[in-house]
Amino acid sequence: TLRLICTTAAVQRKNGGASGPEKYTEAFIKKQIEEFNLGKRHLANMMGEDPETFTQEDIDRAIAYLFPSGLFDKQARPMMKHPTEIFPEQRKIQWGEDGRPFHFLFYTGKPSYYSLMHETYEKLLNVQKHQDQLTVQDLPLQKEKRNLAGSRWLTKIELEEMLLEKLSDDDYSRFIQLLQKLVALPCADIEEEYIQKFSKEVPVQLQKVVIDPLQFDERGVAFSTGEGKRKTARATAVIYDNGTGKITVNGIDILHYFPVLQDREQLLFPFQFLGRIGKHDMVCTVSGGGRSAQAGAIRLASAKALRSFVTEKEVEFMRQAGLLTADPRVKERKKPGQEGPRRKFTWKKR
């Protein structure tokens, strides 16, 4: 022959040597699916249930019963799932018997990604041609604004899953830029279907905190509850309407429970802010933490309970005053090689 056939030693070696990650042939996967179905029926028989209506949850319960395992990692425990979930989707062999690859872009590294780019560019050209035709006929170009607020493009990981190929950040950004270019054209409505394959709806999350309505007890007095925490202290407060300003903590009056003035000021702050000092009664329970932490927890709980008695504007004022925000400060951990969270050991010159 005129041309040397260049092969590496690896190809000339018949057996031996690692051949990369295992390739699952179609026949293998089919056999696994058949075995799985047979095994499912056997399992149903063993458990005394109907083989026809044996769902995946039943299988999981049966396996957990027959093979109890104390291992922590759920993935390490015995499991019986459909082969498509266990064997990851792999690229099948890319060329036929005569050696010719199936995909026309096979000789680039990433055929599916580049063919996607090729198709998207073709749609772009299509849209431009359509636009030109409309301008020639002097027809107005469609200008229905596509709602961009409620949708987002696919992330890089989702695109990788779709194409079954690794992408680099550059590739991904180029693809997104091409899609944006396509969407920006006025007549892009023609290719709406194609674009929707790559966009996802983002549910609008309105984080409106629901304020509980007032509850009424046996005597007909309105009350509401609130919970609060600070450091390690947890508190619940119940505020009653038509009161005299009496506050009870864990069954004890605040004068006896909180001897220090600062703590009592903290408790009264929400009422003083709203100007309702003598109008409400409060009964609270608190546990954990220290003196100041318990005071702060009760303050937060009472502020949350007061939201039900008060207009929305005043709730906004309370929020801006910082009465409704839980204090995130907790004790910082001690680090090794240091005496405390921040304090280092005494530095000795020699």
């Binding site: 890319q94 050696g99 590294g109």
Partner: protein, 216 residues
């Protein structure tokens, strides 16, 4: 089977490639226009007809001969069921070339060329890959105006190359250079059309010959 392969080799122009184009076609597609005198490559001087107002004009007679040789060679490769890879790094014609390759049933690579595609193929693609039997360059330079890596790689792997060389390109390592313009859309469309027609003709002839052989 042996007769199928040896019979086309006895004729000088088995696939009548000369009828596909005329000098006028080349002139109308502006194939004769080269770059400016300052961009001229030393090894392209034999192919240049002359220089007008600092712009090089390529000799279309030589282009005709080279084009006939190249098309004849591609037709023979396609007849024998060889893999043809179209390579170009021109962004404007990337889509056109990929569509041409798809229409022929051959392969294209108009994107970023990874280093070991030809030389390290068995590791990049898997054992048992078949490398292309012919590489067609529709533009020999890459985006930085340097010779494309695939020319050197194909020469290393003993793969014959056909390439359209412009006045600023190096025609050395290409087996069948075609001196001609690679920047105008008209010229590129003409080349794509010619390659597409030759490959389709060659494949049709192969199918006909096989059908005739089976009937006997």
């Amino acid at each position: 089977d042996d007769k199928l392969l040896t019979e086309p080799l006895s004729h000088p122009d088995f696939f009548s490639v000369k009828e596909l184009f005329t000098l006028k076609n080349l002139f109308d597609a502006r194939v004769h226009l080269g770059h400016k005198k300052g961009c001229r490559h030393r090894f392209m001087e034999p192919y240049i007809f002359g220089c007008r107002l600092d712009q090089d004009i390529i000799d279309l007679d030589q282009t005709m001969q080279h084009l006939q040789l190249a098309l004849n060679f591609t037709a023979h490769v396609a007849y024998r069921g060889g893999i043809i890879l179209f390579v170009s790094r021109k962004r404007q014609f990337c889509h056109l070339i990929e569509s041409t390759a798809r229409a022929c049933g051959e392969y294209a690579h108009t994107r970023y060329w990874q280093g070991g595609l030809l030389t390290n193929a068995h590791i990049q693609f898997g054992p048992g890959v078949r490398l292309p039997d012919l590489v067609v360059f529709l533009s020999t330079l890459n985006n930085v105006f340097e010779p494309h890596v695939a020319i050197r790689d194909a020469a290393k792997m003993n793969i014959p190359t056909v390439g359209v060389v412009d006045t600023n390109c190096n025609p050395c390592l290409i087996t069948y250079p075609i001196p001609g313009n690679d920047d105008s859309p008209a010229a590129m469309e003409l080349y794509c059309k010619l390659f597409r027609m030759t490959i389709i003709r060659a494949k049709d002839k192969r199918r006909q010959s096989e059908a005739i052989e089976e009937l006997r």
